[in-house]
Symmetry: C2
Subunit: 347 residues, 2 copies
Amino acid sequence: MSSVKAFAALDNSSPLVPHTIERRDPKPHDVQIDILFCGVCHSDLHFVKNDWGMSTYPLVPGHEIVGKVTAVGPHVKKFKVGDLAGIGCLVDSCRDCDNCKEGLEQYCSNGWVGTYGGQEKDGSGATYGGYSKTILAHEDFVLKISEKLDLAASAPLLCAGITTYSPLRHWKVGKGTRVGVLGLGGLGHMGVKLAVAMGAEVTMLSHTPSKEADAKRLGAHQFVLTSDEEQIKKVTGYFDFILDTVSAAHDYNFYLGLLRTNGVMVCVGVPPAPAQIPAMNLIFGRKSIGGSLIGGLPETQEMLDFCAEHNIVSDIEIIAMKDINTAYERLEKSDVKYRFVIDMSTL
Amino acid sequence: MSSVKAFAALDNSSPLVPHTIERRDPKPHDVQIDILFCGVCHSDLHFVKNDWGMSTYPLVPGHEIVGKVTAVGPHVKKFKVGDLAGIGCLVDSCRDCDNCKEGLEQYCSNGWVGTYGGQEKDGSGATYGGYSKTILAHEDFVLKISEKLDLAASAPLLCAGITTYSPLRHWKVGKGTRVGVLGLGGLGHMGVKLAVAMGAEVTMLSHTPSKEADAKRLGAHQFVLTSDEEQIKKVTGYFDFILDTVSAAHDYNFYLGLLRTNGVMVCVGVPPAPAQIPAMNLIFGRKSIGGSLIGGLPETQEMLDFCAEHNIVSDIEIIAMKDINTAYERLEKSDVKYRFVIDMSTL
């Protein structure tokens, strides 16, 4: 075991503080990473505050992790010391169910192990995330990170990137697809970049007029102010696919109305209350509403390679570790363009 | 114009009564049909009672129409006098929008013309349905009916058949697909027969134990009593596709829980209140809920041909025209196995 410096929440109401955790020595298939940057996902904040009722403390958040390999177990084939590497939202799964065998570990029937706040399958205790100096995991759960991209700005690809990439791919978004992206935040801004790179015609849907310039800068072909009736009329029955990244309460039926026949709306955000959907709003136009959760390991690697090929990273604001609590306050107000990334050398 | 004997609702609260309507003479593309049988759909009852707030009176219901061609306009190519022919839920559409051009007339962007309770595109007034001696329509909206099948039992294919066939085809149900059919009524019993013929593994989901024998007789491979926890446990996370034919209030989330990863639940019934769906129930397992409305003309013909090939008709109870009001009373109590069909020679 080795002692590792980290930042942790010790309960659900105090600020994050410096904390020391114990990490295991590398097992034969483990890759050990010196963490250089870690993205700040809104889930981190939900976990810190125990919003989903499943947090255990001390809690070390962080699942958008990039860094350099410092050690590998003797059976590791994919990585060598010195390589860039990343870890996303999961560090293990059952590896045995149909979903795991298909590379859909995010839907593991027996429950995957979260990078933080999870329980190691070998019974060795809680998992701790990327707000720390080092991390290690089985090589199957470690991703290759391209040297071509800005490293800090690559970190959010591990969660915000794959969360938006996976549904775009699963529902076959590409050339000729009219995509609406709902919500311009950490997820939405990646959704715009990725859908544009896939060749789709991309429209940002937002109720904030000031987001138009940014949406266009990110590559959106069109901006629609959702409070403007005239603009909405033009895109009624228009979209093949709407990527809904909004976690605040909103009326799904309004957006279902913007779908054309056979259109699909996919939620990656989790609003506080259930969607209320009259069957008629799906039946007329053969519309669907679906959901999608991050992505499996093979698809996460595919996404990272796609981003390297298309020169896509996240728009980020780099912070020092000590400023995490202020960053959380700003995150709660959506005051970030569009992802905080912690420079882990400041820990 | 010619006077045609019919049965009509004169307002939203009286029984149906004998009534005489006027039908136009055949136009160059029209096919005129002597109606031999007409199915009784639950929509007929909704229209009679103006449950959907769009009925006009006198209202002559009936959109599961089969009969014999008695006259054709000079430009008609597909039919000749003496042919069997059918008319389903629509008798016209704009023919110009993208959906119409793709043969998805049921999703016509400019509004299709219902076989009854609609308004003719040429301004000539209301349309009247199949509870009448004759009907006529443009040949593009007339279907060929096989001589191989029982004619009376073919009538319900025009609505109940296509309503279940279309989503099964659109979502690519076939060999290897685990299909759950929810609700064993006019729609559900067709869903079972069609999904079985498509090669799927079919499970009837019902809260009525007495339906098991019938479900098996119709071809279902499995019957699951939804009130039995042990039986439900076995099909949790099991189905690729659930065809939800239920129009009574029910908890969609319960059935979403029976879907496996990537599973889709499609509603063809319209419950009185909106579905309440937490986004999490879609996100975990990348599930979708969709809707589907009857089918377009090309697909309706495809379904009729499929049924002729696989010897599929509806299970019916033949009634005389004068018994329609009693039949409606029984329909409201779901007391029919599984479709009433009116012998139009009794009018």
